[in-house]
């Protein structure tokens, strides 16, 4: 945000909540079906491989310093002990790419911003590591480089650096990072589409987690394209990006609806819709 821009358009300083059509052509979004999720952690492994995430080791993991951009959270429902999962419930949690992101407003240096295609971006070079973004993130999905993993902590001893993804950086100590929806893939797909003079096709690009999911629990695509898979899923569930209460919450006469967004009432307008799990006895 330059001074010139700021003076020209003061309204840029205010971030109101998103309106339909604030990303008319491209708005990346996701739908995660918890009924399909088996908690296999393939998405997590894929994410580590794709995004050059350091494996921090047992001690640092126990100290809460792991770098999993996507994590499969386990919750236990004791009333449900006799089910095949013995009461386990899984929830893959990643950056929700909020439209009105609480992390963006508080960053003192403006290192985290919104992109035109609806992503919550993180500029590593600009980040000074105040960690205010994480303090204000309701989902706690931002991960901080507590150590210099590549060099001092030897997260990738030779010859492992050879397998690092060349499409993105290996982050240094002291910067914040988080799920980017695999922005390197998205950028690549957008470039290809532009070179060929067309729009990005549905299914042309997937983040690593969606690609790796064996049960296809993760649907990814362009929400602004009404024919994309993800837009259809959102529409079927009557979930709208610019609302903080969905039809499911307002009107109980729709028992079939199972789409919801996490902590919606805080109004971050997240870009990920979760689909509630259906129990065998409910079906």
């Amino acid at each position: 945000m330059s001074l010139e821009q700021t003076l020209n358009d003061w309204t840029q300083l205010r971030r109101t909540h998103p309106q339909p059509g604030s990303h008319p052509d491209l708005k990346w979004a996701m739908a995660i079906d918890l009924d399909a999720c088996t908690g296999c952690n393939a998405c997590v492994v894929a994410c580590y491989a794709e995004n050059n995430l350091p494996v921090v080791g047992k001690e640092k993991f126990a100290a809460g310093q792991a770098m999993h951009w996507i994590r499969v959270e386990r919750y236990w429902n004791e009333a449900d002990e006799n089910s095949p999962e013995q009461g386990a419930q899984f929830l893959p949690m990643l950056c929700q790419q909020c439209e009105a992101a609480p992390c963006e407003t508080v960053c003192p240096v403006g290192a985290t911003n919104h992109t035109a295609d609806g992503l919550n971006s993180q500029v590593y070079n600009r980040c000074i590591g105040s960690r205010y973004c994480s303090a204000n993130c309701p989902y706690k999905v931002r991960y901080f480089n507590w150590y210099n993993y590549p060099e001092q902590e030897k997260a990738w001893p030779a010859p492992l650096p050879m397998q690092l993804n060349p499409d993105l950086t290996v982050r240094t100590k002291g910067v914040m990072e988080k799920c980017t929806f695999c922005v390197q893939r998205l950028t690549d797909a957008k470039n290809t589409a532009r070179n060929e003079g067309r729009a990005v096709r549905d299914g042309e690009v997937l983040p690593a987690c969606a690609q790796a999911c064996p049960t296809s629990a993760i649907t990814f695509g362009n929400l602004s394209d009404p024919y994309s898979h993800v837009a259809q899923k959102w529409r079927l569930q009557r979930v709208e990006i610019n609302k903080d209460k969905q039809l499911k919450d307002i009107d109980e006469s729709h028992p079939g609806l199972r789409g919801y967004r996490i902590l919606e009432d805080l109004r971050p307008y997240p870009s990920i819709m979760y689909l509630e799990r259906v129990r065998d006895n409910q079906a």
């Binding site: 945000m1 330059s2 001074l3 010139e4 700021t6 300083l13 640092k60 100290a63 809460g64 310093q65 792991a66 994590r71 959270e73 919750y75 949690m93 609480p102 407003t105 508080v106 960053c107 003192p108 240096v109 403006g110 600009r126 980040c127 000074i128 590591g129 105040s130 960690r131 205010y132 994480s134 303090a135 204000n136 309701p138 989902y139 706690k140 931002r142 991960y143 901080f144 480089n145 507590w146 150590y147 210099n148 001092q152 100590k173 002291g174 910067v175 914040m176 996490i262 902590l263 805080l266």
Partner: protein, 456 residues
């Protein structure tokens, strides 16, 4: 033992000769008690511990502080607030009491004002220590650059940076301007390098009428400028929390609560330093018991304001519609931090009642211990604001997350007290820590009042 004709003790003797004042205060610049050097060595050792810890943290990364996800903020931020808070009472004593003409402040405001400056410098260190990449700290400042990249003016942390810089620069100016006539006295009595040093500092002060007039005006102007700054600086620090979305932080009453807490811990620190200076520099004539009594009563009053605002916070959270904030409050009182939380409430709200008793107020040992404990309570308050929210936020994944700072973190916090002490003691050795010209004024006015008592 004469209870019938109990004479009210005076703030200061009216028959101290002016030359005597000069002699007593200038002596503090020369030969203090051995305690001074002992304290200085202690502070320096503490400072070295802090520097060692910070060097290690700088080399390895912030992970050595044992902070983690979700506990992204730890003791650094808590201690940062604590030091910012300490700075407030200096302004209270020197600026606010100056404007309302409370002349008992005169023998003690100089060191209180120095405390303001040095605690701000200490607080500034914590901003740097807290950052992941402290070598890029200048990104947070709005400096002109060829790429037109500016900091994010929406962020409360940026407001912080601006408010603290403004407050620090004005309080340094205030401290300096207030000391110019005293530097002139030092100059007139010094020899060698000190003569050169003080003549530079005294800016050619001759004590002419014109100089005094300009001095008074500029001193009063900065005093008036400083008061709103003091209030705003801690309100803005409170905004770091109140403007965020987290339960336990997102509370409207935070700014006044923080300002009250700041004045509270600052007053307690003034008592501590008062007793230390009185002993080390033999200032018994100037830092008298009646003055200590007045600060103690002031501290009690502020403690009650703080308690009130604290209870307001609890009750507004308790009766508010934000159930998560209420759970966080319950978690603070019953969860892993319960001991610290209850200690904070006890030390902050119950202990100050000791100050109600005249006998206790007149006992230096008791006052020293009480003032240190009050500040411990206020430090715990800051810690209890910052940390428990992380262990019980909105999202269940963060619940029941216990976090205890590593020794590195404690070491840096410990070292900051050494750094502050070191700066403060150096100051006392170089600058008269009792304002000579103002004590003279005070003595003169008291004498005048005795000769010509005001009509009742």
């Amino acid at each position: 033992m004469n209870s019938v004709t109990q004479v009210k003790e005076k703030d200061i003797r009216e028959d101290i000769a002016w030359a005597q004042i000069n002699r007593d205060v200038l002596k503090s610049l020369e030969r203090p008690r051995a305690t001074y050097w002992l304290l200085f060595a202690l502070c320096f050792a503490m400072f070295c511990v802090g520097v060692g810890c910070e060097t290690y943290q700088y080399q390895r990364g912030l992970g050595v502080s044992a902070m983690n996800n979700p506990d992204m903020w730890g003791l650094y931020i808590a201690t940062f607030i604590f030091w910012i808070g300490m700075s407030h009472s200096g302004t209270l004593l020197s600026a606010i009491l100056h404007i309302i003409h409370a002349d008992w402040r005169k023998p003690i405001y100089r060191f209180a004002e120095a405390m303001t400056t040095f605690s701000l410098l200490t607080a500034g260190l914590f901003v740097a220590v807290h950052l992941g990449r402290l070598w890029q700290i200048y990104y947070a400042l709005p400096y002109p650059n060829e790429r037109w990249v500016w900091p994010n003016f929406q962020s409360p942390l940026l407001w912080d940076a601006i408010a603290i810089f403004t407050y620090l620069s004005s309080s340094i100016l205030f401290l300096y301007i207030g000391a110019i006539p005293d530097f002139a006295i030092c100059r007139d009595n010094a020899t060698g390098w000190r003569k050169y040093f003080y003549s530079k500092l005294s800016l050619g002060w001759m004590g002419t009428d014109r100089q005094w007039r300009n001095f008074r005006v500029s001193y009063l102007t900065i005093a008036c400028f400083l008061i709103p700054l003091a209030v705003s600086v801690h309100s803005i620090v409170a905004s770091d929390f109140a403007m965020s979305q987290q339960p336990g932080w997102h509370i409207t009453s935070f700014p006044p609560y923080f300002v009250a807490g700041a004045l509270y811990s600052g007053c307690a620190a003034i008592i501590t330093l008062f007793i230390m200076l009185r002993y080390t520099f033999r200032f018994e004539e100037y830092m008298t018991m009646p003055i200590l009594d007045k600060i103690a009563r002031l501290t009690f009053a502020i403690a009650m304001v703080w308690t009130y605002l604290n209870l307001i916070e609890y009750s507004s959270v308790w009766y508010g519609a934000d159930t998560v904030a209420k759970e966080t409050l319950i978690q603070r009182a019953t969860g892993p931090y319960a001991f610290w939380w209850w200690s904070m409430n006890f030390l902050g709200s119950v202990l100050p009642f000791t100050l109600l008793f005249k006998k206790r107020r007149a006992n230096l040992t008791v006052m020293m211990i009480v003032s240190l404990l009050l500040n411990l309570g206020m430090w715990l308050e800051r810690w209890m604001i910052v940390t428990p929210t992380f262990s019980h936020g909105y999202y269940p994944w963060t619940w029941d997350h216990t976090f205890f700072p590593s020794l590195i973190q404690w070491g840096i916090v410990f070292g900051s007290f050494g750094w502050f002490g070191m700066l403060f003691m150096l100051f006392c050795k170089l600058v008269p820590s009792v304002s000579m010209y103002e004590v003279k004024e005070m003595v003169y006015h008291r004498k005048l009042a005795k000769i010509q008592p005001r009509e009742a």
